[in-house]
Symmetry: C2
Subunit: 297 residues, 2 copies
Amino acid sequence: MTKIAIIGLGAMGGGMARSCLAAGLEVHGFDRDADRTAAFRAAGGAEGTLDAIAAGIDILVIVVVNAAQVEEALFGPEGVAARLRKGAVVVSCVTMAPDRAREFAERAGALGLHYLDAPISGGAVKAAAGALSILASGSDAAFRTARPALDAMAETVFELGEESGAGSAMKAINQMLVGVHIAAAAEALTFGMTQGVAPQKTLEVIAKCAGSSWALQNRGPHIAAGDYTPLSAVDIWLKDLGIVLDIASRAKFSAPLTAATLQQFVAASGSGLGGEDDSAVAKVYARNAGLTLPGDS
Amino acid sequence: MTKIAIIGLGAMGGGMARSCLAAGLEVHGFDRDADRTAAFRAAGGAEGTLDAIAAGIDILVIVVVNAAQVEEALFGPEGVAARLRKGAVVVSCVTMAPDRAREFAERAGALGLHYLDAPISGGAVKAAAGALSILASGSDAAFRTARPALDAMAETVFELGEESGAGSAMKAINQMLVGVHIAAAAEALTFGMTQGVAPQKTLEVIAKCAGSSWALQNRGPHIAAGDYTPLSAVDIWLKDLGIVLDIASRAKFSAPLTAATLQQFVAASGSGLGGEDDSAVAKVYARNAGLTLPGDS
């Protein structure tokens, strides 16, 4: 039976681990937060420390915050990579610079491991439903070995070629667009309010016009309803757009819209909204214009 | 028989006038450019100077460049408004600040005229096909009187209430979003190129991801194909985003993404691309990053 280990049981990793359980796989889950690890075992996760089970793992899925945490988990003083069996596959679902993904793939390869550069898209709800999009690149053998986990976690797997880094690059492109579009939706809905147009009315009309985007249709209703329950938090964008702009800078690529967008999310976080839904960036616009958003007292 | 006059026979107005002809209406077309006026008559437009026919017009459609031209056409020294019969309707299809639309509606009302604040969306191809979207506000009587022209010119008429200005406001919101999304598409597709991802590949994947927008799907293929035949020109955005930011400033609304977007279009126009398709803003990004776009030698 395929044995899967997942490192990182947060909003995304927790749901992905449970999707693998629901698919009938043997799943070991690990998190720095011992409560999360215990909760996952109570939900059906397999027993045993990472040290104890490492040699038997077929698929190691990593869902931590950034490249530094991936490096530590794989290649740090207590890193697991050296204890995996040859032929196992590492599936990194972390948003990072493509050159870091290439570096990790090379180091994993030197240990006889396959590596899939496999950032995820879709949010916590889709993670829990096994319905993520995965933007993956790696060798045929890496895809083949990882298949049971990919099938359990994803509705769509984009296969972006053999070269590690391609998955991370596409994730960065997607995050750039989603981030800009969320801020643009907030900018447009609040701008409309200054002209006497309620956000709900703007949504109804623009959804059928050339101004539409996935982000407007997905996040706009949060603003119209005044519901900032965090499905994806403001602070995620400080991290992700920071990574995107870091990649861009190193490529000497000027990205003024992305930069302006990041500053709006920084202002949201700086004014105490970091843990709210990312659509709360609308509150920055509203405050700067003296507007009262729907749901505000 | 309903008698329509259209002032402004450019890329949009010319197509709209021909759509009215195709619907079997009696259409008088006028343009400052005598060649355009003559060409429209040759295509079936009715004869007679504006002075001569003014008293018989049921519907006056105005498709000029800005509010100043609308004011001149209606209320200037040779303005036609005073010569229209009471109960005729003025349909302004011009992108302008909502308070100008309210002002014109009031002045028209004082002369016994109906007024429809009716900006258009969809581009020259849809104008010629009678398939525009019209974002309209005005009284029931204004809509009723204008109906034959609206039906001939539009696929969809959004009825945005009685108050003049609502149509212009929604148009401004839409233009803000489309403009930002076009520049964001250019930013993302060229950013992807720095990471070794061809624009065509980005389009294929992101169209199915959260980063998608109407603008990405509509303009992205121009960039991927290197085809900058102007369906909507760069310079349109200098005008339209200028209007949007002017409205925003007067409302003391800070719109940083729109402002950054306008600057990218200004750079495109300044470097000689003003008459190319608006997707040519990608050339600014490419040049700034030392990239060679598809189709470039």
